[in-house]
Symmetry: C2
Subunit: 326 residues, 2 copies
């Protein structure tokens, strides 16, 4: 089963998620639905809702709406983070389109991000399951800590691999883990199944961020929807750069230091760095690590009886994360 | 009873709130407790916790900790909003000290604001009362909408009195209303009592913001902790300016338009505007409106039997809101 086939499994649910997103964004403050439509209907992959939906169905959830509501919650939390990230980085582009902050200004976008956080909690509060709420609030705390940690390490070329792993676990993998865990709780899974799905999601999330950080250097710009080397320009030290920096000579190090400090990096510089990374087998090593996370993720799912199409679906999502080229 | 006497009524509770704030701010991401200490122990008045504590005691709450936890929640939500406001306005000062964003940068402060939102929800989620959670999540949504509404009306000299009232109700009064309402729920108040306290808080909150907006023009700069006329410089159209603009000639209007558009206003300009406002009785009119809200607020409390020191305490808080000079 490939990723596309997977989506047909939950086609009706995904359509309901799209409708629900639009509805939750209603507000008499007109700019909120305007920015909402721009953010949510500009081509996201909905990986997080897919994880919620698929996990809940795997665990036997047969309801109509709670998995939809929680899919919206995780997508809103994710989008609030993106919005605040873009403001912080003053990013001009997101998914090939002008970023919301470049269209409506940083000020409004900080506040619409806050609206999204508030809306997420409002949906959860009205759902009323206190354990799911605690899982989500703990997740938000960890995400916020991860974002702060990333920010205080901007331009820090001494960032270690372990510190990098800690950051991406908090800022990315925790939410993806939570998506799967919420699905488990919705489906009334056993403690073992819930733990397995949480660990599956965590490992998929780690691979997801590793691939993201890798694609930031190697992807086709048009497909990436923004220039390559954006992380470098923003002083965001990711795994490819950590590996390169560890293994290059002092002249190359001082050149990298200059790029990171100044943020003024032209496409030729990026090309040069990317070639250096390729020479040092950096991308192979990052990819191998991502593949390793995906293997671990899949092995966690052994707790479930084979035969469920949703189990195959989760395997396909995991494969997609490392096979995607954008 | 004056405001100081009021505070002695809930002295022990307030001390517990201070300790709890410090504890909730713990994180292995070091900059979070650092910024937390700076934000929370830099001299806030704790009006919102006072409202929670006093209302809960008035309604017979005799527990040890839930009113403390909810006091922290409302103070954190308020502080998150201040932090994001300061980032948006690029404010250099807050309460006479350098603002957090001027010390640590806008980027980290957006994210620490997000941490505060997450922490608030985490405290609520662990408290586990679903009705209080819904009250708070609705409040957060209204606050976020109010903030967005204020932002889209920056520099809008056509802002009407009704639109202004709508903005301050959402961005300020709703949270203060919620403080009182949470106290009522904690104390097991009747529906009438809860409604009365919510309305008391809403009216006090309206007066509070009116006085804030008035003091922004008239206060002693040293006591205000920032230059007067900050709202004008930031293009934030408040009630004094709305009243003045309605009643001045076209030359004065174009001068005000110039100030608002450019944000370049020197102390002499502010002095001139403030004198013009005084001539037009603007401050008297704003003050009268605030006094009116406080009267309405107090009348709501008639539902409670007189004799409780906490009832006197709430009256004293209401009086303090209009009598304060900072």
């Amino acid at each position: 089963m490939d990723f596309k086939d997977t989506l047909t499994l939950i086609k009706d649910d995904l359509e309901k998620v799209e409708k629900a997103i639009g509805k939750y964004f209603e507000s008499d403050v007109e700019i909120i639905p305007t920015i909402g439509s721009y953010l949510f209907f500009g081509g996201g992959k909905r990986i997080r809702p897919v994880m919620v939906l698929m996990s809940s169905r795997l665990c036997g959830y047969d309801g109509e709406d709670r998995h939809i509501a929680h899919s919206c919650v995780v997508e809103f939390l994710h989008t609030a983070t993106l919005l605040h990230d873009d403001v912080i980085d003053a990013s001009p582009k997101r998914r090939g389109n002008p970023s919301a902050n470049s269209k409506w200004g940083n000020e409004v976008c900080v506040l619409v991000g806050d609206f999204l956080f508030a809306k997420s909690f409002d949906i959860m509060a009205h759902d009323g399951d206190s354990r799911m709420l605690r899982i989500l609030s703990d997740t938000c705390l960890r995400m916020a800590e991860g974002e702060v940690l990333q920010q205080v390490n901007v331009c820090n070329l001494k960032l270690t691999e372990d510190e990098y792993v800690n950051i991406i676990e908090r800022k990315t993998a925790t939410l993806i883990s939570t998506c799967c865990r919420l699905g488990a709780v919705l489906g009334g899974a056993s403690a073992d199944e819930e733990k397995a799905l949480a660990s599956f999601g965590l490992n998929v999330g780690m691979a997801f961020q590793l691939v993201d950080d890798y694609l930031d250097y190697t992807a086709d710009e048009e497909r990436l929807g923004k220039p390559t080397g954006t992380d470098l320009r923003e002083g965001n030290i990711t795994f490819p750069l950590i590996l390169l920096y560890e293994n290059c000579n002092s002249e190359q190090r001082s050149r990298i230091g200059h790029f990171v400090e100044n943020g003024e990096v032209n496409p030729q510089d990026i090309k040069e760095l990317t070639e250096l990374m390729a020479e040092q087998n950096v991308f192979q090593r990052v990819e191998a690590r991502a593949v390793d996370y995906i293997k671990r993720a899949k092995s966690e799912l052994a707790v479930f009886d084979s035969g469920s199409p949703y189990l195959d679906g989760l395997h396909a999502v995991a494969d997609f994360v490392i096979e995607r080229d954008l």
